[in-house]
């Protein structure tokens, strides 16, 4: 139900936004297909005829909705390939990047946050605040370029850009992960600091449990709920980041495809990618809710 609502809203919004953009669509598509130097009124007319653009935006939209009802996203106006084929290919690349980025951020952020939370107010805690604020504030575009300069150009450890080998994945994933980790470290730190000063934590200590035992038995599950819930929010950051990072690193993903489709007025591609991203949110948020409930079942039992 929620998914259908999102599909409708995303479809209508992306369509309206594309219509509101300046420039004649047929000219833009002709430029995308044949290059700027070859665009002419004749070529634009040929494109307009071929794609049936004279019919007007309302007819096009109704066509798209009718296709969608048959689970058909249509064909790209530029390449002529089925939108679904293009998205499937690009989505794989984006999911790979997003998954590795999320994994890396979880390896970096929460452990640092837990340590800082357990030593709240200490030097490490204060330093983490500064560093995390820094990484959140730096645009991913700049962070990506700095990582390329340091790790690829200076140290020659990793390829600077491109796609193909596992090594190509690391720099873009790290760029995304550092931003995400900066945020999740702060969330974890606050949750941990709260738990560490709670009465049940003091009681566990009084029972004579070691620090490690207390953390495992009473700490992790309690900070799990806010951290996992926050993961849901991170998907928004991740989706934003993917669009920027894919462009810098030449990663053939859905964010990159969306930018180019917008640029070229490839309406079916824009609608298709926006739809897939929108539905992705619905699915991921549902998953996050399920996980959060498993970690903290109180709400369900109540």
């Amino acid at each position: 139900m929620q998914a259908a609502g999102v599909a409708l809203v995303v479809g209508v919004m992306s369509f309206l936004m594309m219509q509101a953009m300046p420039g004649d669509m047929a000219y833009r598509i002709a430029a995308a297909r044949y290059g700027y130097d070859l665009v002419s009124a004749d070529l634009a007319d040929a494109v307009r005829r071929e794609l049936g653009l004279e019919a007007g935006p309302v007819v096009q939209f109704l066509h798209w909705m009718a296709d969608l009802a048959r689970f058909d996203l249509g064909r790209s106006l530029v390449s002529g390939q089925p939108v679904w084929d293009e998205i499937a290919h690009q989505m794989g690349a984006s999911l790979q990047l997003a998954a590795v980025a999320l994994g890396l951020s979880l390896l970096i952020g929460p452990p640092l946050g837990i340590y800082a939370g357990l030593h709240a107010g200490g030097l490490f805690d204060r330093m983490l605040l500064v560093v995390a604020a820094g990484f959140r504030a730096v645009p991913q575009f700049l962070l990506g370029l700095v990582l390329i300069v340091v790790l690829a150009v200076q140290l020659r450890l990793l390829p600077s850009a491109g796609h193909g080998s596992p090594a190509h994945l690391i720099l873009p994933a790290l760029t995304l992960a550092l931003g995400l980790a900066a945020a999740s470290a702060r969330i974890t730190r606050d949750a941990m600091a709260g738990v560490a000063t709670s009465p049940f934590y003091a009681f566990a200590r009084a029972k004579g449990l070691s620090d490690g035992q207390i953390l495992r038995r009473h700490g992790l599950r309690n900070i799990g709920a806010p951290v996992v819930t926050y993961l849901g929010l991170q998907f928004v950051l991740l989706a934003e980041g993917v669009v920027v990072v894919e462009t810098i690193f030449g990663w053939p993903g859905i964010g990159h495809a969306l930018i180019h489709a917008v640029f070229h007025r490839d309406v079916p591609m824009v609608q298709g990618t926006a739809l897939v991203m929108g539905l992705g949110f619905v699915v991921l948020n549902a998953l996050v809710d399920l996980i959060a409930r498993r970690i903290d079942p109180r709400e369900v039992q109540a």
């Binding site: 009124a41 002529g80 290919h89 690193f249 053939p252």
Partner: protein, 507 residues
């Protein structure tokens, strides 16, 4: 589980890239995206990567050479051209290159809005070992058109039943092993190549749209050839060890197009005055960062069309003011020129796809303000220029025009200036010029005739040339034989080779 992922990621991070990347391949990075297997869409990439070839070739000066056709003849009435197909050649799938296969590919290109759709062609057929092209009127530029990428020849097996292209099966020195639009093309040496097998075993193409990324790829050694550098990167890469920066003047020109039907630009004197207001040398140096001021429309590299005898376009704001005053344009209270109650205010249309265009527009706005012209810059879609031209509402437009789309600029001249295409002169007509260009397109022309046309454009200034572009590329010292072609047809990959034998051992 978490630990095993961590181990995997860390080992991945610590392996030097040389151990993972295919070091035997020559890597090329360029901004152009692969839009699909169809030569009409992405043939420029297939041609430059030496996977696909055309009937006619051209060298770096634009001179035509035999390609898949080893010779051609034209009938006495200049209406029937015969291109003889080189014999004993095969496509990458092992099938033979025949005149039928070539004619099929050309017919399809023509139907798909390829360059051939712009030529006066009645029919393309195969007769024995010849491709026969029948024209409706004489057209001397036909062989040059057959050198353009959209006429690339693919094997019959590359096409689906509906005529769409499903695979890149060409005759070039490399055969495609992986095509992943929009960014990746990988190809291996084709040992049966008719021109002799290439020296490098494989070539990889990566599309990296951002100029910063491409420059860093060159600096990090991830690509042996990186093309289309931005001015800032050129300056930086010049001091990087292991990389050489090359640049050649190319037939792409930064132009200011004027609607000569408007009262601002309807006389030659006004257009010349406007031209005098432009500091081309300063602009080229500050924005493009190389001395590329255009002294006339086409650069010296475009043989015949560059007229060395023409006096260069000067910068003289005082003379510009005087000329406008002589034409009746006098400064009003706020310094803006006025004539018959009309203020000299115009809209300058440009587009941000090329980073230098909005910058150049901003400089022009200042330069024009100095002589009393108020310019409003509208940086929008490039398509607005041809669209507003067609609608007659364009006032002034700044853009980059390529005169080397086909190795003979007469093709572009015919479109733009005889009497006026969507990118060329607007509201300007010169019957003698139009007749000369049409005659040249039909019958060919001498260098003297081409120079005369250049002189007409310089005298009447229907468009104001600003600067000539340069093709810039960063080439690794580890390769030799790379070609920087002003006509953008080749990278020279089929003859390139790695310079160091121990390259495989070094990271």
């Amino acid at each position: 589980m978490r630990r095993s992922i961590a181990t995997l990621l860390l080992t991945g991070a610590l392996i030097p890239q040389a151990a993972l990347a295919d070091t035997a391949a020559l890597d090329v990075a360029a901004p152009f995206e692969i839009k699909g297997a169809d030569p009409v869409l992405s043939g420029d990439i297939f041609l430059k990567m030496d996977v696909m070839e055309t009937l006619v070739n051209a060298d770096t000066s634009g001179a035509l050479l035999p390609g898949l056709a080893d010779g051609w003849t034209v009938s006495a009435d200049k209406l029937v051209w015969k291109f003889h197909i080189r014999q004993g050649m095969q496509f990458h799938d092992g099938s033979a290159l025949t005149a039928e296969a070539a004619a099929f590919a050309l017919n399809r290109s023509k139907a798909k809005e390829g360059i051939l759709a712009k030529a006066p062609i009645n029919a393309i057929t195969a007769e024995g070992t010849d491709v026969v092209i029948t024209l409706s009127e004489p057209f001397a530029a036909l062989p040059a058109f057959l050198a353009e990428y959209r006429t690339g020849i693919l094997a019959p097996s590359a096409y689906a039943a509906d005529g769409s292209v499903t695979a890149v099966i060409g005759t070039g020195a490399f055969r495609v092993t992986k095509l992943e639009p929009p960014m990746t093309l990988e190809a291996q040496r084709f040992d049966a190549y008719w021109g002799g097998a290439a020296k490098v075993p494989a070539v990889h193409y990566t599309s990296a749209t951002r100029a910063e990324t491409r420059a860093l790829m060159a600096e990090a050694g991830d690509a042996e050839l990186v093309v289309n550098l931005d001015p800032a990167s050129v300056t930086r890469l010049q001091s990087v060890a292991g990389v050489a920066v090359h640049s050649v003047a190319m037939p792409r020109v930064l132009l200011l197009k004027l609607n000569t039907a408007l009262p601002f630009f309807d006389t030659v004197e006004e257009r010349q005055a406007l031209s005098l207001a432009i500091d081309r040398a300063g602009l080229a140096q500050a924005v493009l960062r190389y001395p590329a001021a255009a002294s006339q429309l086409l650069p010296p590299a475009v043989g015949g069309w560059h007229n060395a005898d023409l006096p260069p376009l000067d910068h003289d704001p005082e003379a510009a003011k005087a000329a406008f005053a002589a034409a009746g344009w006098l400064p009003g209270a706020d310094g803006i020129l006025e004539k018959d109650g009309q203020r000299f205010t115009v809209e300058l249309l440009t587009y941000p796809d090329r980073a230098e265009l909005p910058l150049t527009a901003a400089v022009l706005e200042q330069l024009f303000r100095e002589v009393g012209i108020a310019v409003t810059i509208n940086a929008t879609n490039s398509s607005e220029i041809p669209a507003k031209h067609a609608a007659g509402t364009l006032q002034m437009a700044l853009f980059a025009r390529n005169f080397g789309l086909v190795p003979d600029p007469v093709g572009t001249f015919m479109q733009d200036y005889a009497p006026g295409g969507d990118w060329g002169a607007m509201g300007w007509e010169n019957d003698a010029f139009t007749a000369a260009v049409r005659k040249m397109a039909a019958e060919g022309g001498s260098d003297a005739e081409k120079s005369a046309l250049a002189a007409t454009l310089q005298a009447e200034l229907p468009v104001l040339p600003i600067a000539w572009y340069q093709q810039t590329a960063a080439v690794s010292h580890s390769v030799k034989g790379i070609v920087i072609d002003p006509y953008e047809r080749t990278y020279g990959l089929k003859s390139a080779e790695f310079a160091e034998l121990n390259r495989l051992c070094t990271p």
